[in-house]
């Protein structure tokens, strides 16, 4: 018990960091599912591409001699480049892999999504090789920078990651709840045909949903690189599965649910590693997914009303 109390605060910090990354991935899953009832399994690979775009920007602005621009500006550039790049990638994926199948049976776009995932992974391997790449975050933010909160150490990188994730999530919440576009998105999610009849440009809403969801994944990829340091071409597979799990646990299609699910999965993984074993942490996460699918398939914050059929 003493061990638990002394380590729990640090594991909360660890879990919140990891959870922020998962939450941003989960949002993209959830938004696309909410509007198209499509599981976009290429989403994890969009996140991977985002990490590589951020790495490219970092490489350009951080030669061995030291950063060419102030650290904060470099990080901002990485995030912006990855988010815009991944946003367009998401739009391209929608246009190329999903739109032609929009009225096909639901299994067809699912298979198309898996194919897209393999295509993205292999394209990155062919062009950039299978090597691990390292974000030299310590050249921008010293490893030791941060504050001690009792027994836990909250490093500056983690503050940046959690903070960036919060900013992105608040921005998304504002967009969905307070803007015309957000209203259109909610309308399409509720009933695509009725929304179209009311004059909502459904195609445009779908494209923008893909853009926003993919941009969040790209941002998440950069944050992963910054805090965990290591990226590679198949990193999106596992992270994508965790993001999907988070979306299901939060209630797929539900935006606050995806945020909550992401944070919970991050915390669960940290505590499972810390107090059970890293050997079994993934097992525990996916057992929780199975339990949710069996006991409460609509997730924590999922719609309570009847499912549209």
């Amino acid at each position: 018990m003493a061990q638990f109390l002394s380590q729990a605060p640090q594991q909360i910090v660890n879990g919140l960091t990891l959870g922020s990354v998962y939450a941003l991935i989960a949002l993209g899953y959830s938004m696309v599912y909410g509007i198209l009832q499509l599981l976009n399994f290429a989403h994890g690979d969009v996140y991977m591409v985002g990490a590589f775009i951020g790495f490219g920007v970092l490489t350009v602005f951080l030669p061995d001699a030291g950063p060419l621009l102030p650290a904060a500006l470099v990080i901002l550039l990485m995030l912006v480049a990855a988010m815009i790049g991944c946003g367009f990638l998401g739009v391209a994926i929608e246009w190329f892999a999903y739109r032609p199948l929009r009225n096909a049976p639901r299994i067809a776009p699912l298979i198309s999504a898996l194919g897209m995932s393999i295509l993205l992974q292999n394209s990155v391997q062919l062009t950039l090789t299978a090597q691990f790449r390292v974000y030299h975050t310590e050249k921008l933010i010293p490893i030791s920078a941060g504050v001690d909160l009792g027994p836990a150490h909250l490093s500056l990188v983690r503050v940046l990651v959690i903070g960036s994730a919060i900013v992105m999530m608040v921005g998304l919440a504002y967009l969905v709840n307070r803007t015309r576009l957000g209203r259109a998105m909610r309308a399409v999610a509720l009933d695509r045909e009725a929304a179209a009849m009311m004059g909502v440009n459904v195609d445009q809403v779908i494209v923008l949903t893909f853009f926003i969801g993919s941009a969040l994944a790209g941002g998440s990829g950069v944050l992963t690189g910054l805090v965990f340091g290591r990226i590679w071409h198949t990193m999106g597979f596992n992270a994508g599965l965790k993001g999907f799990t988070a979306a299901v646990i939060g209630g797929i299609g539900n935006i606050p649910g995806a945020m909550l699910g992401g944070l919970l999965i991050g915390l669960l993984e940290a505590f499972a590693t810390g107090f059970i074993s890293s050997t079994y942490s993934d097992v525990i996460v996916f057992v929780v997914l199975i339990l949710f699918l069996l006991v409460r398939p609509r997730g924590l914050l999922g719609a309570t009303g009847a499912q549209k059929v």
Binding site: Q3, S6, Q7, Q10, Q11, V13, N14, G15, T17, L18, A130, F132, V134, H136, T137, E138, K139, I143, S144, G146, H153, S155, V157, T224, V227, F228, G229, R230, T234, M235, F237, N238, A239, E269, A270, F271, T273, G274, F275, S277, S278, T279, S281, D282
Partner: protein, 406 residues
């Protein structure tokens, strides 16, 4: 190199099996790969029948390594060392001249098998340096053994290779079952660690290494805690918190992905824990384990299958030559120098015994008792080097240097 070879035993086994089947199918014709060793060496002139004292005995050997592909950095280093051994031999041994056929096997058995088959049928070749990876040895050994062709590897460490019954297989590096006790003894006796956190990578190589290290240090009274991580693990912070809670003197990480070692060291430093990480061969990477860690692995360790050549006085000349021939040389190539030297030494013994052919070279190699770089090399009945241990390196000033032995 061994980390690239996880799928190789299977592929290698299949390849060998299919080759054997192919060889056995037409019962009326002799198997093409099994050249009787007795008709060997038409171009080599046995020393005893040399018409004049000035005649030079020609020795032809082959060299196998991945000279292209993903492991080319290691294979070309091995080649540079083997070439140096040939050059030194040709310079110092009067009455003999060596030519070495350089063959690219990549790091896959399917590239190695055609090369082995070709050379098995070339009677002018009396011995082979290599193959490099355990997978290529597994695929080639039966073919080479069938042709009586001695093959001596400078880097294949899979323990089972010497148990396959191939009497012409030799290696000059200790196998993976030697590495665990070596590392464990160093941790307990030299570093005098009392608490060690052991991590494995949930794969064959890592689990076996972690098991043997843990067994060795536990027997010496060291307290351990053990966990496993996936190759896909990116976030080491939760594990670092657990490690910090355990309060070890050292973390032994039996992984193969050097950048994971760097990530772990960074995560520990992030939480204010500064204890060294100790890894296996896979961690011996300047780029991933040192440069990729941004200083977090300073003072950490990696064990490799050969001692640091720069620390051996008897190797000073070779080290100096290599600085110009292959400036990026590390610990990987030196065993290939040894393997080449031992093979050539056996060829000289065979020639002086009256017969420079494959069986005599293999027989002479089995009886090897030679010092190279001041280290004595002898083989047991299975071709395993006797009395060799892995070298242990520490990171000092952003470079690997030989770790103090006491």
């Amino acid at each position: 190199m061994k980390r690239l070879n996880k799928l190789m035993p299977l592929l290698g086994g299949l390849t060998v099996a299919s080759l054997l089947l192919a060889a056995c199918a037409p019962a009326a014709t002799p198997a093409p790969t099994a050249v009787p060793p007795t008709v060997a060496a038409p171009t080599t002139v046995p020393a005893t029948t040399a018409p004049t004292a000035a005649a030079t005995v020609e020795i032809k050997i082959a060299f196998y390594a991945p000279l292209t592909g993903g492991a080319a950095s290691l294979g070309t280093e091995q080649l540079a060392f083997a070439r140096q051994a040939v050059a030194d031999f040709n310079k110092n041994m009067t009455g003999f001249h060596v030519t070495m056929v350089e063959e690219d096997t990549d790091i896959t058995p399917d590239k190695a098998v055609p090369v082995c088959t070709k050379d098995a049928g070339d009677n002018t070749i009396v011995g082979v340096v290599g193959p490099s990876g355990s997978g290529q040895v597994a695929a080639c050994s039966k073919i080479l053994d069938g042709a009586g062709l001695a093959h001596i590897s400078g880097s294949a460490t899979r323990p089972s290779l010497s148990q396959a019954g191939d009497k012409t297989f030799f290696r000059v590096v200790p196998n993976d079952n030697v590495q665990g006790p070596t590392d464990g003894n160093y941790i307990a006796d030299v570093l005098k660690a009392k608490k060690v956190f052991v991590i494995d990578d949930k794969e064959d190589y890592g689990t076996n290494l972690a098991d043997t290290v843990e067994k060795t240090i536990k027997a010496k009274g060291v307290t351990t805690q053990r966990q496993g991580v996936d190759a896909t693990l990116a976030d080491f912070s939760s594990l670092a918190t657990t490690i910090k809670g355990f309060g070890p003197d050292l973390v032994f990480f039996a992984g193969q992905i050097a950048s994971q070692g760097a990530s772990l060291a960074k995560a520990m430093k992030d939480q204010g824990l500064s204890v060294p990480v100790f890894g296996g061969d896979g961690f011996f990477s300047q780029k991933d384990y040192i440069d990729g860690a941004g200083g977090a692995t300073e003072g950490s360790y990696a064990s490799v299958f050969f001692p640091d050549l720069r620390s051996l006085p008897a190797a000073a000349d070779v080290a100096k030559e290599m600085d110009t021939a292959f400036p990026a040389w590390g610990p990987f190539g030196a065993p290939s120098y040894v393997a080449t030297t031992l093979l050539l030494d056996a060829a000289v013994t065979a020639s002086q015994g009256g017969k420079l052919d494959r069986p005599s070279v293999a027989a002479a190699l089995a009886k090897t008792d030679v010092k190279v770089f001041g280290i004595e090399f002898k083989f047991d009945a299975n071709g395993e080097p006797q009395g060799l241990n892995d070298g242990i390196f520490i990171i000092k000033g952003g470079k690997f240097v030989g770790a103090p032995t006491s």
